[in-house]
Each structure stands twice: as structure tokens, then as C-alpha cells.
Amino acid sequence: MAGLELLSDQGYRLDGRKATELRKVQARTSVFAQADGSAYLEQGNTKALAVVYGPHETRGSRSKSLHDRAVINCQFSMATFSTAERKRRPHGDRKSSEMSLHLKQTFEAAVLTELYPRSQIDIYVKILQADGGNYSACVNAATLALVDAGIPMRDYVCACTAGFVEDTPLADLCHAEESGGGTSLALALLPRSGNIALLQMDARLHQDHLDALIEAAMTACKGLSKVLDDVVRQHLEEVSVLTRD
């Protein structure tokens, strides 16, 4: 949008952050008692809720089960009140189907599915409030939910968005920055090995800037992984205190 300065001269963004600063991340696991694993994550104003059921027997058609691995089934949906304009269909449209597909592929790479042949793991993610970085919030929340459910994974899967304005890469875009027409890259990373599980970029970017952009996103993801790790450890401490005596 013309007129909105995404990066001011002093280096401050629309919400007062610096170029490489992430938004405040708050998370909590075991939000729901009925599900096998659940997590709630807030990244700035974006709120995501993830619930994991499984591993359990393959529901529906038996033919979908694989003989040597578990099938991961994902559904991404947004609450109708999550966006500024009311959304009519929470899920089922093309964008949601695409996101569900990407989530499924991301976690198929990260979860040790060979340990659960012929079974199914369901991951359901819901966006309660959308303010940029929907996909990344989902991935982070789903990682925490999987950890809460006790499903073994290769590593935390952390995701973050990055943008590019006037030769400076920006980390963790909010909605105004994303829809401003500039570049936005979403990256899902396994921090310890540096493997990229998913890479998605829209809008034009010159090839020479690609390196810097990916690098900025990777650094942001590594920072996020520390936060997620802290949340998991804190939760474990709380639970162990309760069950100790």
C-alpha cells in the first residue's frame, strides 16, 4: 500500500520493532485434556491452537494406511472471526487445503513415522486471530502439540516469515507488512541440522537477495526454537512438581 513506510529511516518498523526483531512469543502446552496433545501459541497478535490425536488406527478407508509408516493427516482452518473481514468458510477452500497439504508434508519429514506402521496421526490447527505469519504460527503450535502428545520427532520444527524492504531483510512479518506487496518468505526449519523442511516465497525478489533473505529467516527460526524449548521444559517442570509428591 502506498504511503505506509515499512521501514523508517531510523530502522523502525510499523509496530516499533527493529528489522531483525521477532514478535513476542507466548505458548502453553496441554491446553485441552481430551486430546492426546495440544498447544496454544501467540506470536504477536497471531493466535494459533494446535491439537494432536494419535497415533491411532487409521480411520475411514483401510487402504489409506501404509504398511511401514504412519500416515499424518492435517487440517488447517481459520476461525470465522480471525481476520478483519469475516471469513465465510472456515476450511475447505483452496488456500486452506494448500496449507493443510504443506503442514502435512512438513511434519512427514520431521516425525519419525517409521515407528508407527499402519497407524494415523491427526494434527488439527486452528487460527483464532490472524495477524501475519499464519503458517509459521501453525507449525510452531503443532510442534509443541506433537511434543505434548509424546510423538517422537527428529527435531523441533520452527517456522518464521521474512521479508525484504530496501535491501534489509525483515524477520517475522505482521499482516500489514505481508499484504503491503513486498516479498514474504515462509520457512520451516529443523534448527539443529539446518535442514529446511518447507520453503515458500511469493512476490518478486531479485536472485542476489535470496541468500540474505533465507539467512535472516533461518536465524529467526533458531531464535524461536529456543523459546519453544523453554516452554516445553517449563511445562515439564510444572508437571513433575505436581506428580512428585
Binding site: R94, L101, N195, I196, A203, R204, I214
Partner: protein, 395 residues
Amino acid sequence: MRDTPLSNCERRFLLKAIEEKKRLDGRQTYDYRNIKITFGTDYGCCIVELGRTRVLCQVSCELVPPKDSRPTEGIMFFNLELSPMASPAFEPNRQSELLVMLNRQLERCLRNSKCIDTESLCVVSGEKVWQIRVDVHVLNHDGNLMDAASIAAISALSHFRRPDVAIQGRDITVFSPEERDPIPLSIYHMPICVSFAFFLQGSYLLVDPCEQEERVKDGLLVIAMNKHREICSIQSSGGIMLLKDQVLRCSKIASVKVSEITELINKALENDKKIRKEGGKFGFAESMPKERITTLKREEAPVEMADVKETANEIVNRTETPTEVVSSPVLVAMGTAQVGEGIVNSWGLDEDEEDEPQTEDTKTDDVMVISDSEEEEVVILNEEAQKSTKLSKRK
């Protein structure tokens, strides 16, 4: 109808070949198949053949009221369909994962990159704008649908001409193509998708995978770029792990390929423009090659002839003489059929057969050709073997 699954044998073969940097059709790792772009008689219709993959794209336009959130911009609508004629695996009216992925990638590649100037599509702000509809149909699936679809879409958009409009106050007059020449769309740049398939946990990659290679792949990376080296979209899918250098390397390869393909598209557009101007025939019918055999030439193939004589003699010595010897064995060349000619009827004449003396030795050394075939060439092969049979008999 379900797709025939790939056997483990084929899978192992393909993966082993990829390990040794060989591909089924003999291409190199970074080679594209032959791309052929043809345009139809209408403006905005284009068929792209990428090897055996065939994709048809049609662009059409319509005047509609604009979206509320963007009253001064035109609307672009993309639709990709997997026609069941393309592959037995495609069923009509079924939203498969592949369809969703292709549609979204096409939308992201062409819409988000803003390759078309949508503001120029506005006729009356807030009331009437042009809606450009791009329909892509897959006619034959032999791998790499994404690239073919993006090439077809952008070629069709470049080829398309929309009707001219005149605005007088509140009246809008749309001119038909006869009244006024239609106007081409204003295209900023041509984004083209390049697909990289990864195999064996990301250690090997191939550009432009064919259908069988696609089946054994681990994951796919699609990079959409234009010839100015601007990346329009990157999408990795399939659950593979990538390293940053792999992505950067792929982007470099993609830039080279994209510039080649853009040149090809431009050349095809030029050709088409030239033909239309000169009044020559254009369209799909003209572009299909006439497959009529005008000459038939067989290539010479070397044959090992070192010990033919010895082996032939051996065979002749080993075999028994036939009970019945015909005066002139007629050996027919390929492509001819003879019914009821040449050999004596041997049905129901058992007693006579044995008594028949072998009087039918060739009286002459010439071979008599008993055939009514119209083919001028009746090649009698193996004259030497014939002569040696005669010799052996005489012995």
C-alpha cells in the same frame, strides 16, 4: 480408474540410474525436453508440448463489476483442470492433492508476481472492469505439469488480445474485432516455473522430471523466475529436507533455463505474428506435422560377418533335408503377404508325399520367383545358403 503402480523393480532401476547420473531418455541432469509452443487461430489459445506432456491454455475476458476491496483493478481468474484423457489416474470432478497444488502454484506464480498490469484492465472505476480468465487443461501427462502449465499460461496471456473499449460519459462501447483491432494485455514480465525433483533424501536432483521419475521422487522444488533474474515464487513440497546452498544452486540453474525458455516463447510469438501478418495459414491444424511417408530409408547397420559361412555350413549339415523340396524356394520380403501361392498343397496327400521323388532339383541355377506380388522388390536373401543347400543335396 486407479493408476498402475510402479513396481519395486522399476523403482530400483530408476534410482540406480539416477545415482549414476543417467536418465531414461538419455538427457543430462539439467536438460529440458523439447519444448514446442503452438498458437491457435483465436487469440489467446496455446498448446505447449514438453516432450510428451501436452497442455492447452485458453484465455478469455469478460466485463464484470470489480471487487469491493479493489475497485480500480481488473480481476484475474486461474483454473487448471486435469482432464481424464491425460492419465488414467485423473478422475473427473475429484479434487486431488495434485490439482490443489498445481492450481495454487499457478495462481501464486502469475497473480502474486503481478506480471499483468491489472490497473489497465479497469474500464469504469468501481463499476466495470475486465475479468481475465485463464483456463489450463492438461491433455497428456508425462511429468512436469507445473512447468508446462506456466509456460502455456504466460504464452497464452502474451498472445491474447482483448476487445477495444470506448467510454463516453456513462456509456461503454465494446468494439468487436472487426470494428477495431483488439489490444494486447500489458505484461510486465514473464514468470516461468522450473521444477527440480529430489531423489534419495535430497542427494540427487533432476530438472524437468518425466512421469516415471516423478513417481520415485522424494520431493519437489518449484522456482518461478523471470528473465530479469527476479524470483517470483519458491515452493518446496514433498517433505524433503533442503539445505540453503541447494536452494541457491537451484535458483542459479533456474535463471539460466528461464532465459532460454523466454527466448523460445518470444520466438514463437514472433513467428505467429509474422504468419498472421503475411496472411499465411496459422492455427493448430497447420502446426501438426503431416505424417506421410515420402521416402523410406533404412539405416545401414553393421552386421558381424566373420564366420557366417562356417556357421551356415554347420547349420546346414545339422539339419535334415526337408521331406519336400520345392523347386524354387520363395522368400518374401517384409510387408507382403502371399496366400495360396508357391508351395504345393500338402493336405490330405499323405501317401503321395513320401513317394514323391526328389525330382524337383533346380534345373537351373536361377531362382524362379513365383509370386504375383506387386512389390517390385522381392529380396531373396541368403543366396549363398541356398547354393550350399543345393551342394549338400548333390553330395
